[in-house]
Symmetry: C2
Subunit: 262 residues, 2 copies
């Protein structure tokens, strides 16, 4: 039987989603998950994620599928997996899925959130693992850049090296920068800025490069009106903005057509 | 000169506030802070907290004072301490204070928060270190118990053993249970319950015992109307409710008369 898993993880302790087949492999989300699945299934089980999150990236709604023996259909997979997994990886839902369901191929859109903490003087300890401590940003400039990113574009300029994907056109379906007040206990602080982006797919480190570009707009290193030209150059180096750190990024939702959505 | 420090910490990795003078001492908040202070001051510095938080307890607003050489008055203490401290201990503010200021003796009230996560099936990884995963609670019963705790009482029945404090009368100034929706990304979940309590002082593990008592009310093991009788017994054993785990507890505010408030 095929299982569809909805997963959350705090990525800080992990070398990303993808298992690394080598001696003394680093800790990965897929590795921990497959380890727990193997114990429960009694046989090796391959877990297929909707995509590979980078080292240090978090998830509130990663989706994966895997095949387990039919004889184990009676198992409460959510409970059993959570009993075996480390606390920073949680199975939010585990449901049987059609044998044709594929977590990566069937995904129609994904949503990521990137969190910018604007106070350099302090970061609340409970937020520190989930933000980029980037200093004060002009949210109006970040917002002015968003319309230039929305819609279908060639996002090659926001893709980092080290991938063999050929097509670099993607459609950005939604983009928003919201100002949040997450910590009522803390001394007066600038709001946390939360970038939310949805697309039919993302290139390698595209959200982190977009976050870096928007932060550069926010501190007026790049003018929002220059964004179309930077994208058109299709050259990562032309975008004079660093890749934002992994800590701020979370995969929050993967959507599937119709009933495939968990 | 005397410094008044406003501190936040994630207590999960620490054996509480208080330094332990023994071989191979465990990691403590005070120990880490004094280590950083000694490096900056060039001499040993004793840090006095407003109170000792237990092992695993967090703080969003602990206050401490310490004396440092007058010659170091020009130092940016907040920035310098944060550069030396681990990420899970942060100095939110560092200000010079009158030499008479005493973080413990001058405190007129303290406020703690205790967080109950009601879903047993999953806890979001980023919340897990800061909640008690206690299952579903009837918030109306918890709220019905609060008026019986408010005001001046002998709280001996909510004090754990191992303290030499004699007087056990305290005045609970504020008590509230709020229902929060902290995780918009997660599958439908019961609200996080946040207990907030302020008092002129707290006995050893009093907030955790109060949280345990309220949880027992919330799952109808103890009737709210029985609370006055349980308190009157002045006997920890008479309160048939466990001490709630440290993870859910945070010290959020220490108040001082007049200008002494940071």
């Amino acid at each position: 039987m095929r299982l569809k898993l909805l997963l959350a993880y705090a990525g800080g302790r992990y070398s990303g989603w993808q298992i690394q087949e080598k001696p003394n492999p680093p800790r990965t989300i897929q590795g921990e998950l497959e380890n727990a699945l193997r114990i429960l299934a009694g046989v090796p089980v391959r877990a297929h994620g909707s995509g590979r999150t980078d080292a240090g990236v978090h998830a509130h709604g990663q989706v994966a599928h895997c095949d387990v023996p039919d004889g184990k259909a009676g198992l409460n997979w959510r409970k059993s997996l959570n009993a075996l997994l480390p606390d920073d990886i949680r199975v939010l839902d585990a449901a049987s899925a059609p044998l044709t369901f594929h977590a990566r191929n069937d995904a129609v859109s994904k949503t990521y959130v990137y969190q910018f903490w604007q106070e350099r003087a302090f970061v609340p300890p409970h937020l520190a693992p989930y933000v980029w401590c980037c200093g004060s940003l002009g949210v109006q400039y970040m917002r002015a850049a968003l319309p230039h990113l929305l819609g279908e574009h060639d996002f090659a300029g926001l893709q980092n090296a080290g991938t063999d994907i050929r097509g670099t056109r993607r459609t950005l379906l939604f983009a928003e920068v919201a100002a949040m007040q997450p910590c009522e206990y803390y001394p007066p602080h600038l709001p946390l800025l939360r970038l939310t982006v949805s697309a039919d797919g993302f290139l390698k480190q595209m959200v982190r490069n977009m976050a870096g570009l928007l932060a550069a707009c926010g501190c007026q290193k790049i003018a929002p009106n220059d964004v179309p030209g930077l994208l058109a150059a299709r050259d990562r180096k032309a975008v004079r903005a660093a890749t934002a750190p992994a800590s701020g990024l979370s995969l929050v939702k993967v959507e599937y057509a119709g009933a495939q959505t968990i």
